[in-house]
């Protein structure tokens, strides 16, 4: 895992910019660990492109490769970086402005 939350969150958001990588991560989240071949049969993306994206995602620590023979390698989602990105989103979504408006409205009554 990279040393700081900023770098980790950035890797997650960079990964999510690309629609193919979003589709791959979504497929792993919904269907569990899969090989590049499994993913190619489910997604409108070539196996070659999927293998390339999985390599990038593994380097960024967003998926982990299970040990195995090359074509049979299964990839699984590694959730720790997603949780760091979620902390960033949680801070943006806290909505203290809305809550404090509600508090003032309540006390003004």
């Amino acid at each position: 895992m990279p040393p700081d939350v900023e770098a980790t969150a950035e890797q997650v958001f960079v990964a999510l910019v690309d629609p193919s990588r979003r589709a791959i991560l979504a497929a792993l989240a919904s269907g569990g660990p899969a090989t590049a071949t499994d993913l190619a049969s489910r997604l409108p993306i070539t196996r070659q492109a999927i293998a390339k994206h999985l390599g990038l995602l593994a380097e960024a620590g967003l998926v982990t490769a299970e040990p195995g023979e090359r074509r049979r390698i299964r990839y699984r989602l590694h959730s720790a970086p997603m949780q760091v990105a979620q902390q960033f989103l949680a801070a943006l979504a806290r909505d203290w402005d809305g809550r404090l408006d509600a508090l003032r409205n309540h006390l003004d009554k």
Binding site: M1, D4, V5, E6, A9, A80, Q83, V84, Q86, Q87, F88, L89, A90, A91, L92, A93, R94, W96, D97, R99, L100, A102, L103, R104, N105, H106, L107, D108
Partner: protein, 143 residues
């Protein structure tokens, strides 16, 4: 640009600190602006919970109770798994002003990393589930 660890807001409210304090620290007060339903055990270490119209319930742990100037609690970071130990700290500070109360809210802790112990426990869990599911499959295959 940076990862937001801390949220801070200051608002002036045209009510005395005692009124603001009641809105922050009583069941009725919290239920009237924060949650739809609320209950709070107002002492350090006490439990509080709020239910929202969405049906979500949040659980808080009361930390500081220094009437009528400081009230704080910790709660879970939204979106993380329920067993995740990371929590943010929310502190309200009330200062009397000529016009009423100056209320400062600080929520901090969004940028904390999971500690190593938690990471180990978490990875352990993930492996545990994979192997337990594997055992279930073996069991069903054998039946």
């Amino acid at each position: 640009m940076g990862f937001p660890d801390r949220i801070e807001r200051v608002v002036d409210i045209a009510r005395p600190p005692a009124k603001v304090w009641a809105a922050l620290t009583t069941d009725e007060g919290l239920a009237s602006w924060f949650g739809d339903q609320a209950s709070i055990d107002l002492r350090p270490g006490g439990a509080a919970q709020m239910t929202f119209s969405s049906g979500d319930t949040v659980y808080m742990r009361v930390e500081r109770v220094e009437e009528p100037t400081v009230f704080s609690f910790t709660w879970h970071i939204y979106g993380l798994p329920d067993d995740d130990p990371r929590r943010t700290y929310v502190e309200f500070t009330l200062e009397p002003t000529a016009a009423g109360t100056r209320l400062t809210v600080v929520e901090s802790g969004f940028a904390q990393l999971p500690d190593d112990a938690h990471k180990t426990a978490y990875d352990g869990n993930a492996r545990g589930w994979a192997s337990e599911l594997g055992e279930l499959v073996d069991y069903l295959d054998a039946a």
